[in-house]
């Protein structure tokens, strides 16, 4: 599969990176944390592995599903049985507050942090909660908005993409094929199309990228005309879709839809040619981590080809690496264009997003 990224949609500076190009670009610019990374267990690391083993533990905080997080950590544990890998689940907002407070009060328990909102990661970078660690694994990454500026503070461990998802059994003839097909379709009118609330980073990314592509009227007139409903979780959206309450999920998280499809739900994931909006979950090392070397080792594993394949398999995320295939059963075509917003500029757009969302939801 070819993965391409479109970033900073509104600006004319649209960068499209074909598969394979990014690695070359990075190899010239990147300054890994060490000059000669150690290769062990099939991946490169700049961590002091002996010290990591002596630390004996590593703690990951992440907002992905606990079972999936543990499945990924389990693979790490198989490679390093001396290091007990543990994880804590909470929503991004709660994790942010928790980590900030832990660090401010010298009570840090977390070593490696994952958040689903890059603006929060940028904030923690500025506050020096996250430390710089340019993993040797970054050589395999596309040089786009999937990592911090400068590199090494946080890097995406997976792309969370969203698209149109519909119930194959109830959609009838002529299912939508593109984003523009949604507006004006009578089937989806009257609280039968679902979105997410403003708390969702994925919704923020979808709003921004599609507003950049089609203009703000796409949302405030086109989608608002459908009188959609909004939820906090994809499980609420897909339960309604499977149960026949809704006709379409406009913000259908692909990894979530895949979970449902694996359970036998009659859902179809659409990959519009114009692009698939995506945000990311970024992983970084906490500066005051109690197990600093184990934290670096874990980050190297998570960002390596091997780690990414585990994440793609267990979490159904798309990998930002150019050498890792799309999740099996995702139904993704040979080439997917992801629309990734420029998170540096997103902080300033928050208020417009919230105002637009009130119009979209008729509040």
């Amino acid at each position: 599969m070819k993965v391409s990224f479109t970033t900073g949609i509104a600006a004319s500076a649209v960068s499209l990176l074909a598969a394979g190009m990014a690695g070359t670009a990075f190899a010239q610019d990147a300054k890994p944390a060490c000059e000669t990374p150690t290769e062990l267990q099939g991946f490169l690391t700049c961590a002091d592995v002996e010290a990591a083993k002596k630390e004996g533990a590593v703690v990951l905080y992440a907002p992905a599903g606990q079972a999936q997080q543990l499945a990924v950590l389990n693979e790490f544990n198989k490679l390093f049985p001396e290091i007990k890998a543990q994880s804590v689940w909470a929503q991004t907002g709660a994790l942010f507050a928790k980590v900030e407070q832990e660090v401010n009060t010298n009570n840090t328990l977390v070593d490696t942090l994952v958040l689903s909102d890059p603006t929060l990661l940028n904030d923690l970078q500025k506050k020096e909660v996250l430390t710089e660690y340019v993993s040797p694994a970054l050589a395999g990454y596309a040089d786009v908005n999937v990592q911090s500026k400068p590199k090494g503070y946080w890097t995406s461990w997976g792309l969370v993409a969203t698209t149109i998802v519909y119930n194959t059994d109830t959609i009838g003839e002529n299912p939508p094929k593109s984003w523009k097909d949604l507006a004006g379709d009578e089937r989806f009118k009257g609280r039968k199309a679902s979105l997410k609330n403003t708390t969702s980073g994925l919704q923020f990314a979808q709003w921004a990228t599609l507003a950049d592509l089609y203009g703000p009227e796409f949302w405030t007139q086109g989608i608002a005309g459908l009188q959609p409903v909004a939820f906090d979780s994809f499980t609420q959206q897909f339960d309604r879709l499977v149960g026949g309450t809704d006709m379409v999920a406009i913000n259908g998280q692909i990894s979530g839809a895949m979970q449902y499809i694996e359970k036998g739900a009659p859902l179809t994931i659409l990959y519009p040619e114009d692009g698939v909006p995506a945000t990311l979950e970024g992983v970084g090392v906490v500066k005051s981590a109690p197990h600093p070397q184990a934290a670096r080792l874990l980050v190297d594993f998570l960002l390596s080809k091997q780690g990414q394949e585990t994440i793609v398999k267990e979490m159904h995320y798309f990998s930002p690496r150019t050498d890792v295939a799309a999740p099996a059963n995702s139904g993704a075509p040979e080439s997917v264009k992801f629309l990734v917003p420029d998170w540096e500029k997103m902080g300033d757009r928050r208020k417009t997003f919230e105002a637009d969302w009130q119009k979209v939801l008729g509040q």
């Binding site: 708390t199 979780s233 499977v242 979530g256």
Partner: protein
């Protein structure tokens, strides 16, 4: 100089007074300490990275049209759910503890069941049952030819009814504890003087139950004001927001609006404090003692022809409020997809397999049980002591009243907001409690202080002071009198309070989610996580397991206490 100070203190204060003041200090530390942080955040108007500036800007945001709408929704939900829960809880407690209907023990256990699980669970169950299109009831109705949804649990009234089922359970538990101590002689006396059973209920039973009734009303109403899971899950379709769901949005937005969230949470105090004032005024100078030195036998009221009707009534209530949602959860736990019922392909045991093979889930269950037992046991001692300080200690009445108000503060602030206060406060505290079960234990003691104190108080109110005085006159020591008179007489009520504290601790969610560490996980956050990122089926599975563990633990506990005491 220090010695002189202590000597002076010893001279001026009795040992009892010193102990009482020590209790006051503990309560203030538990409640006021996190509140200080919460108030600081509500008053802070500067950005987190800037030097602190303070003002009332966040409080002025409380009066924005959107927040006013939210506040009105919250009040409506709290009023409707309380108006349903209290009569239901009272009637259920009266029928079960005071009449001669069959199957009392079964109903007694059944009615508190909704309170055993986090409110997320009944909300999920009722969504599966009565969502406008996909709910099982509506799917059946459609198949039988009904046009459109038969029931809509997503409406304001629908949400209030689901909240009332949980509220009804706590009302039943609080009033049931007090009802067991009711002296039947008073009711018999009323009937001897020619009053009918209905007149006796209205003129004797209900007035005697006033402390418990008021306690239950305040609790159900306050819980209604802080309700989160039900409006979050059921109110999404019709965009019904409450203060707690609004706070959830504010805290989760970027940058997180902690100031507005804290101000909104604290503003609830302006509703609850006047209510508490009314409550304490109503109780002032009244004698509710029904347990006196005179011997009596707890006799059931013979209901005669009404027996079958009353039995049917509790059976229907039990079925709708408890059995149906629990059954729905069990069904969901065996499904791959919780909205498809009429297909053979959706049934599976996978959800249980997934849960049981996870060491993490096992640790969470064990931690929850440890916390349940320790919080209930230490909480009973601490809260019992606080009740004694408030109502029976030789402290000036003003001090007692002050403690009464302080104790009630956690109930007036939505748990979601109070949890941030706990996090900010206890992480600043010297010592490394964070990431251990100790911190969760402290948090639970704090957030359940109001529930524990009011439950124990409503029981203690019924104990006549003359018993203490009689013991004193006969020369019994305070401890001897406590061990041989007070505790045995209060035992049923105290056991009920222990069970209540155990249950609420095991199902606690709001503060746990922020305070857990890698080695101190508990079960309720796993249910939320399953609901948010896996699916309703696994959330239902965890909820069923949580319920089973609670029931098992309670059976063991009840068997033990029965053997020891009766």
């Amino acid at each position: 100089m220090r010695q002189a100070f202590f000597n002076r203190l010893k001279g001026e204060l009795s040992a009892q007074q010193l102990t009482a003041y020590a209790a006051l200090l503990v309560v203030v530390l538990l409640v006021a300490y996190p509140m200080v942080y919460l108030i600081e955040v509500a008053l802070r108007v500067s950005a987190p990275n800037e030097p602190a500036r303070y003002g009332l800007d966040n409080f002025s945001l409380v009066f924005s049209p959107r927040n006013i709408d939210t506040i009105l929704n919250t009040i409506q939900l709290a009023v409707i759910s309380t108006a349903i829960a209290i009569p239901c809880g009272f009637l259920a407690a009266w029928i079960i503890y005071r009449t001669d209907i069959p199957g009392k023990r079964f109903f007694e256990r059944l009615f508190v069941l909704p309170y055993y699980v986090t409110p997320l669970v009944p909300a999920l169950a009722w969504l599966a049952l009565a969502a406008p299109q996909s709910g099982l009831i509506n799917q059946i109705a459609t198949r039988l030819g009904h046009d459109g949804p038969l029931v809509n649990i997503s409406s304001l009234t629908g949400i209030a009814i689901v909240m009332a089922f949980t509220g009804g359970a706590v009302a039943f538990a609080i009033m049931g504890a007090a009802m067991q101590l009711l002296n039947p002689a008073l009711e018999e006396c009323s009937q001897v003087f020619g009053a009918s059973k209905r007149q006796t209920l209205w003129r004797v039973t209900i007035p005697l139950m006033r402390p418990a009734l008021l306690s239950a009303t305040i609790f159900v109403f306050a819980e209604g004001l802080g309700a989160f899971a039900e409006p979050l899950i059921l109110g999404a379709t019709d965009n019904i927001q409450t203060i707690s769901t609004r706070i959830y949005i504010l805290a989760g937005s970027y940058p997180p609006a902690y100031g507005e969230a804290a101000a909104l949470g604290i503003s609830l105090l302006f509703i609850i404090v006047p209510l508490m004032f009314v409550y304490f005024r109503l109780l002032k100078n009244r004698d509710f003692a029904t347990v006196t030195g005179k011997a009596y036998r707890m006799a059931s009221i013979e209901t005669g022809r009404s027996r079958a009707g009353l039995f049917t009534l509790v059976l229907v209530y039990g079925f709708v409020a408890v059995i149906l949602p629990v059954l729905m959860l069990v069904i969901n736990s065996f499904q791959r997809l919780s909205t498809i019922y009429f297909s053979t392909k959706v049934w599976t045991l996978d959800n249980y397999v997934q849960v049981f093979k996870s060491a993490d889930h096992w640790n969470s269950i064990v931690n929850s049980l440890i916390l349940g037992v320790t919080t209930a046991t230490t909480g009973l001692l601490l809260m019992g002591f606080v009740v004694w300080v408030i109502y029976r200690s030789p402290l000036p009445p003003r001090v007692g009243r002050f403690i009464e108000y302080v104790v009630m503060v956690p109930v007036a602030i939505p748990r979601l907001v109070f949890a941030f206060g706990l996090l900010w406060a206890w992480l600043q505290f010297p010592g490394k409690m964070y990431g251990t079960l100790w911190l969760l234990w402290l948090a639970y003691l704090t957030v359940f202080l109001p529930l524990g104190v009011r439950t124990i108080a409503s029981v203690v109110f019924q104990l006549d002071k003359s018993l203490e005085e009689a013991a004193k006159v006969t020369g019994a020591s305070r401890f001897y009198h406590l061990r041989t008179i007070t505790v045995p007489l209060l035992k049923p009520g105290l056991i009920a309070a222990w069970i209540l504290l155990f249950i609420v601790s095991v199902r606690e969610l709001g503060s746990s989610i922020l305070l857990i560490g890698p080695n101190s996980k508990v079960i309720s956050p796993s249910i939320v996580e399953a609901y948010q990122v896996i699916g309703r089926e696994q959330a239902a599975t965890l909820a069923v397991i949580q319920l089973a563990v609670l029931l098992l633990a309670l059976m063991v506990m009840l068997r033990f206490t029965r053997r020891e005491t009766f």
